[in-house]
Symmetry: C2
Subunit: 358 residues, 2 copies
């Protein structure tokens, strides 16, 4: 049977600890050439949806040690509204019942069969958190106790869960532009983590004195600035260019999640996407940073590179780009736990296989 | 509702004429920069299946004019057995009930929703046929009457259907190494096409005097040789290097399906794939042909290039590589006809969408 799981199933079954542990194991496979990732691609075209762009995104990865491969697909209606000073990237829940469209398909490397199909949302935020959690594990000071986070949205909670899973965090301060949002977030995360999360009125108040500074917004403009960098601090972001480039220049050591390219494919006609988005991403960083010399997360994990040499160094972890490989690794744990728990809808595997040579 | 369709549904609903017509329309979109393809990628790793390689293949494409995007996925157990003098690429039906695994997911560009999920096999052979059919339409002599085909397997039938859809074919001769196979194929295709298909004992007997020579094997060695080329002949193949390179050198005009690259991603350890496969494909052709100067099928269709200048020229159409774009285009027709016919299983769209921002 092919298992159809929901986000509720994923929430219930898959813990942050599960994902951090299985990613650590899987990255070792990647570093040693025994696992493979096919980098994310974005295919962007016009849509009839007003002032939006249609995006079909996919990424694949295979972890033979775990017996699985995965393809993650997003079918997005994307807009770029301006909020305050910042342009944000927002996906519109335009599918029936006001829903978003993201799917993971999990396959067996033993016989090719489709094991499971499930929405990507909960796993996505967990893997984003776990990735920055692993960045913090290998780069931040081992005695880090204080976290400052910028953002209180759908990604911020898993960022905190992840950093608390790898460091003995005692103090968390959170800034986001909306008072209501940051206060609600602080209440909820204090309960969730058993650690007091304090909402603050200015971003500087969150960052000042933090051992670990995390950006967790959906801004495509910078929100973390060079004058906030302190000795010994570890910086992380969810996407370029949340940490402004001048702040990165103050880092003694920078590691990146992956050096895989990120191909954009788009129509040459009628695209609503702002020009500055096209090919933006890493352009600035590539122009100045010597990317080739930066260690990747898998290299940190297998000890081929060191995250920091001393407690005074400033470290930064960049490029938390989704990898199909991560969805395969996390999917293997989810599938095992779902089978044990009898979760999900079983559909006939024959619906997703064929007696015709493809 | 999201529609789950079977290969039987696709067979019943989607005609060769449908696919040729919709591809012709879609290629115009591609040529004009109004449609986008994300080229096929293959991710190859070890598998526990004996003497095989696991392959996770994906390709995406979006045709805004038709309101759809598609991702095609194959999860294959691949072997390279030697049959006679030739090495063949064979996928093992290793999934439960001895089945193969190939899926197409069709999405709406209007609101992102998953419209349909169906196996790829029948559409795959139809699109392979239709692509070479379009190649023949734009390159072969308009008065072509005779076809010689090498191969009698799962791809050969749709090659014939396609060429008969674009030219007024009167005579077809077929060679394949197994007498039983070619005779059975000839009987079946004679019935199917209403044109006598004659099985012959040597490949030369099929090709001699043919206006259109088609290779439709699963050999990864050459099966069509330079000494068989005759003035005015149009040559096609399903994959490199069925037509030997010396035969291509005799062609006055060569067009290729697409110039998109075809990235291979593979583990550096323990791969059962023969060394000569890795990166083979176009290596030889690229070393000699000036690929950049060759017209593509979309360019032929919009008239930016000419298939032939006179009846004496030898023409060749190459690189029938699958494109997600083709599955989107053909999928749009299939989906419309399936809705009209009430075909398939309806599943709740909510199973494949989410209320969580991905």
């Amino acid at each position: 049977m092919t298992l159809i799981l929901s986000n509720e199933d994923v929430s219930k079954l898959l813990t942050m600890r599960d994902v951090i542990d299985v990613l650590e194991e899987a990255y070792e496979e990647l570093a040693e050439g025994r696992g493979v990732n096919r980098t994310r691609s974005d295919t962007l075209t016009p849509t009839s949806y007003p002032e939006a762009t249609y995006g079909l995104k996919s990424m694949d990865g295979v972890v033979p040690k775990l017996g699985v491969g995965a393809v993650r697909i997003n079918s997005d209606i994307v807009t770029w509204p301006k909020r305050g000073n910042n342009v944000r990237r927002e996906k519109v829940p335009a599918a029936p019942n006001n829903r978003w469209v993201g799917l993971v398909l999990l396959f067996s490397t033993h016989n090719g069969e489709p094991l499971a199909i499930f929405p990507d949302g909960v796993m996505q935020r967990t893997r984003v958190g776990a990735t920055n959690g692993l960045g913090a594990k290998y780069m931040s000071r081992p005695d880090s106790k204080t976290v400052g986070i910028l953002g209180s949205g759908w990604q911020a909670g898993t960022q905190l869960r992840a950093v608390c899973a790898v460091r003995d965090i005692k103090t968390i301060r959170c800034f986001s532009p909306s008072k209501d949002n940051r206060e609600k977030f602080a209440r909820e995360m204090s309960d969730d983590l058993g650690i007091t999360v304090t909402p603050v009125e200015q971003p500087e108040d969150a960052i000042r004195g933090a051992d670990i500074a995390m950006c967790a917004s959906n801004s495509i403009d910078s929100i973390f600035f060079a004058q906030w960098v302190e000795p010994g601090m570890h910086l992380s972001e969810i996407k370029r260019p949340e940490i402004e480039f001048a702040a990165l220049e103050k880092a003694d050591r920078i590691a990146i999640h992956t050096k895989d390219p990120h191909p954009l494919h788009f129509t040459t006609k009628d695209l609503a996407m702002p020009d500055k988005i096209k090919g933006k991403g890493w352009a600035e960083a590539k122009a100045t940073l010597d990317i080739a010399t930066l260690p990747t997360l898998p290299e940190l994990i297998v000890g081929r590179a060191k995250g920091r040499d001393n407690p005074e160094q400033v470290t930064a972890f960049l490029n938390n780009m989704g990898m199909g490989f991560q969805f395969a690794a996390a999917g293997s744990v989810l599938y095992r736990k779902a089978k044990e728990a009898g979760a999900g809808h079983d559909l006939p595997t024959d619906w997703f296989t064929e007696d015709v040579h493809p």
